[in-house]
């Protein structure tokens, strides 16, 4: 069904070469850090050297040669191969287990909700309702809201001693369980519109005759939904799910701003732990191992998932 022809490489190559060129060193380097214990130090030596003019003669200032500071640096790096030590540490580390748990709970709370809510909203909006254009425009806004700012804004919304949601009496941010729910709620707020828009567009591509044909066959509303729409929309659901999963696994900005990962570590997802480990404690080898551990697991899941979804991704 598909074409062959040498030109296909010209279409594909620029993107592939670009990504390879820009990621090969970073990926290689971080992989290297994961498998080696790298200790890096810079030896600094300061000397005073005379300032020379174009002819190479020393410039004089008040009769003395003008001196300037020259800083000599010597990179001293020692690397010892430690094999799978970082990965072994990963598997045994209770902090990692905790972060994985937080990430998984968050995923289960947020992603299905976004998909479901997006789908329901798409069904709702797929009618002749007043001001549909304006409402759709409003639904776009959350996608463009910088997550960091969103985190801080929701902090004030969830403020428990008098904020707009304080009347519920819920300890939004001070209770470990509720804090994770709050983080999920913020994510749902931010990403449901994305799911909604994508699914709505797909819904609107469903031709009228399909509905009529189903009605003629005696289908009820429920049958229409489950036996016609859902199967038709499945490829869309899959793409949205994949994109949301990949992004949700990297959840960082919202808990960073809103809870700092707390109380305790109740809202510290995997990506935040990796961030702290790599860029606050500068334990870069371990942070790389964390990142690659995640990548490995996700790739396995995706590959297995796709062996079974051959139709959508043939």
């Amino acid at each position: 069904m598909r074409w062959t022809g040498r030109i296909r490489f010209l279409f594909l190559a620029p993107a592939v070469l670009w990504v390879l060129a820009f990621t090969i060193f970073p990926l290689g380097y971080s992989l290297y850090l994961a498998f080696f214990k790298v200790e890096q130090k810079v030896e600094i030596k300061r000397v005073q050297q005379p300032v020379l003019d174009e002819q190479g003669r020393p410039v004089l200032e008040d009769g003395q040669p003008k001196m300037r500071n020259v800083v000599l640096r010597e990179n001293v790096t020692t690397a010892t191969f430690i094999g799978l030590d970082n990965f072994r540490r990963l598997l045994a580390d209770p902090q990692v287990r905790d972060a994985v748990r937080v990430t998984l709970v968050f995923l289960l709370l947020a992603v299905p909700s976004e998909l479901l809510l997006g789908f329901l909203l798409a069904l709702l909006f797929n009618r002749q309702i007043m001001g549909r254009g304006v409402l759709r425009a409003v639904m776009i806004l959350p996608i463009f809201a910088t997550p960091l700012a969103v985190g801080y804004v929701f902090f004030t919304i969830f403020y428990e001693v008098g904020g707009p949601l304080a009347w519920t009496g819920i300890p939004w941010l001070s209770n470990p369980t509720w804090a994770l729910v709050s983080v999920a709620l913020v994510d749902i707020w931010q990403w449901t519109p994305f799911c909604f828009l994508v699914i709505l567009a797909a819904l609107q591509g469903v031709p009228d005759d399909l509905y009529e044909a189903a009605r003629i066959d005696g289908a009820s509303n429920w049958d229409l939904l489950t036996k016609v729409l859902v199967p038709l929309l499945t490829p869309t659901f899959v793409i949205v799910l994949l994109i949301r999963l990949a992004e949700a696994l990297k959840l960082f900005d919202i808990p960073f701003a809103m809870t700092g990962g707390g109380p305790g570590t109740a809202t510290q997802p995997y990506s935040m732990l990796a961030f702290r480990t790599g860029l606050r404690f500068f334990d870069l080898g371990y942070a790389s191992a964390m990142a690659y551990g995640l990548l490995a697991v996700v790739m396995v899941v995706i590959t297995v998932f796709f062996r079974r979804m051959r139709e959508s991704y043939g």
């Binding site: 600094i44 500071n69 800083v71 403020y159 809870t259 334990d283």
Partner: protein, 548 residues
């Protein structure tokens, strides 16, 4: 008539001119050997006149020692009118005028400043000449050789003159490492107690308190145990008429990753630190055993202090588990808590009408101390008849450290030291917006052994009563006979992060106090082993001044 006025004006002008040798936009060099620094509206257009020698021999009328030199200084981003960064903007034009150089002020987001500095240092980039560091960063800067020693520059007499002698010993050690100097005087951080005097001295409350607890309401409390009682008494009552809702006892800023662990540090100091003249294995230690680097953080003293903090937490809003400085201080400044123990910023913010409803009723005092502490040598509790004073220097005490990669350390040093000379430093401490808090002798009042007068504080906008208790509280804090040891070893970030997370778990009820601190100690052992036990031991001993 008009000619006479003109003549008068003319002669006045001549007289002025004769008095100045060279008048600039920001600095006047005067004929009598002084120089006048002209500050902007953020400092009420202050004019500071100093002997020209105080600016150093490299500077003078007509001299431009650093012409063509550009230096960059990184600082926590807060803008030209914000804390710590603001003064850099205020003094930049002055320095640029007398030196001929240029300053790039690189504002970095507060949370990322340390990371960017480390990226720069560890990879040999050397893009910046100086960093306004927090004292707890020293362990990652100095032992590795990334800091520039300033002893020679200080002694040379060429640059603005200031001295460590004005610093209390507890603050001085934060600027040095093994006797060598790295930090230029700037800010002094430590936690003191702020309290609502009107509430504590209200006769109705005093009577009711005595009836309930059996002793007179102490104003201010001298021990933590007393403070807890008072806090319990006031919690839940509407004792403050700024709003109609019930108020709290003590408010804390416990949010994870946001300086919440300092509360525990300041409070537990008096439960843990054994007094003594020197640093020994059992005296004046808090973090690790200097003999073998075994963590002390889960000692009975620490555990009891954490349990105490959990009790104290119950006398404040439950939400404070997720509150950072802004929210907790806002709660206090709106009048909703009797106590808060935190940094000098609170006292300054109290005076700001845009932030506070309690100006004039914002007294400060030395932190209370525990009426008992855990003796490491005797391995038992020691009950004290009289409360002792245990100080702290918790916080950043943000100040300039010159990068050892800098090609222009002299220029950089002259800029930093310009803000360290006594008359400048004194002025900076009086203005709260600049984030520079008092800790040096000329910033304390004369009656407390300093050289500042109350009028100067009042002129800067302080309520006189607040200013009096504020300066005395800090003097007592920094000159206390015993002080909490400050941790400045490599990996301090990681050690404190682990402590912070476990403390937060304890405060939110996820772990017991003992469990939290035991977990901390266990994790700390892992970090120490990973960084290198012997190296850490050596650096720790150097940092706390322990000699075997």
């Amino acid at each position: 008539m008009r000619t006479r006025t003109m003549l008068l004006l003319g002669s006045a002008a001549l007289a002025l001119l004769a008095g100045t040798v060279r008048a600039g936009q920001y600095v006047d060099w005067n004929a009598d050997g002084t120089a006048t620094l002209k500050l902007g509206p953020e400092y009420d257009n202050a004019r500071i006149t100093v002997p020209q020698s105080m600016l150093g021999s490299a500077f003078g009328p007509g001299k431009q020692p650093f012409k063509g030199v550009t230096i960059s200084v990184t600082v926590n981003g807060a803008g030209p009118k914000g804390g710590i960064s603001g003064p850099l903007y205020s003094f930049r034009p002055i320095w640029e005028e007398i030196s001929g150089g240029k300053v790039n002020i690189v504002e970095l987001p507060f949370a990322e400043h340390y990371t960017k500095m480390m990226l720069d240092l560890r990879n040999g980039t050397g893009q910046y000449d100086a960093f306004m560091v927090g004292a707890f960063w020293y362990g990652d800067i100095v032992p590795a050789g990334y800091g520039y020693q300033i002893d020679e520059l200080m002694k040379s007499g060429k640059y603005p003159q200031w001295s460590y002698d004005v610093m209390p010993p507890s603050l001085k050690t934060l600027h040095q490492w093994e006797g060598k100097s790295y930090g230029v005087l700037n800010d002094a951080d430590g936690q003191v107690l702020y309290y609502r005097k009107s509430a504590l001295e209200n006769p109705e409350h005093r009577a009711a308190f005595k009836a309930q607890f059996g002793y007179d309401l102490p104003s201010p409390p001298a021990t933590w145990q007393q403070l807890l009682d008072v806090s319990k008494y006031f919690n839940g009552k509407n004792w403050d008429k700024n709003d109609a809702d019930p108020d709290s006892g003590t408010v804390l800023h416990l949010k994870v990753g946001e300086q919440g662990h300092y509360h525990f540090q300041s409070l537990s100091a008096s439960f843990v630190i054994n007094p003594g003249d020197k640093v020994t294995r059992t005296q004046n230690v808090y973090w690790f055993d200097p003999a073998d680097m075994k963590p002390l953080i889960n000692s009975p003293g620490h555990v009891k202090a954490l349990e105490f903090l959990q009790e104290l937490h119950k006398t404040g809003p439950a939400a404070q588990v997720g509150w950072s400085l802004g929210e907790a201080w806002d709660y206090f400044l709106r009048g909703k808590a009797v106590f808060v123990f935190s940094w000098g910023d609170v006292g300054a913010l109290c005076q700001d009408k845009a932030r506070s409803k309690i100006q004039g009723d914002c007294a400060a005092a030395m932190l209370p101390s525990s009426d008992e502490y855990w003796d490491f040598a005797k391995q038992s509790w020691v009950k004290l008849g009289k409360p002792r004073q245990v100080g702290n220097t918790t916080g950043g005490s943000w100040h300039g450290v010159i990068s050892n990669y800098s090609a222009n350390p002299e220029a950089t040093y002259s800029f930093l030291s310009l803000m360290a000379i006594p008359p400048v430093s004194k002025l900076m401490a009086m203005y709260g917006w600049d984030g520079v808090d008092p800790g040096f002798s000329y910033q304390f009042l004369k009656e407390d052994g300093g050289t500042a007068s109350l009028d100067e504080y009042v002129k800067a906008g302080w309520d006189p009563n607040d200013a009096k208790t504020y300066t005395r509280a800090y003097k007592d804090l920094f000159y206390a006979p015993t002080t909490l040891t400050y941790l400045r070893i490599p990996g301090t970030f990681e050690y404190w992060d682990i402590l912070d997370k476990n403390l937060s778990a304890a405060m939110s009820g996820a772990k017991s106090a003992k469990q939290a601190l035991d977990d901390t100690a266990a994790a700390w052992q892992g970090v120490t082993n990973r960084i290198g036990r012997d190296k850490q031991l050596a650096d720790y001993r150097a940092a706390i001044g322990y000699k075997e």
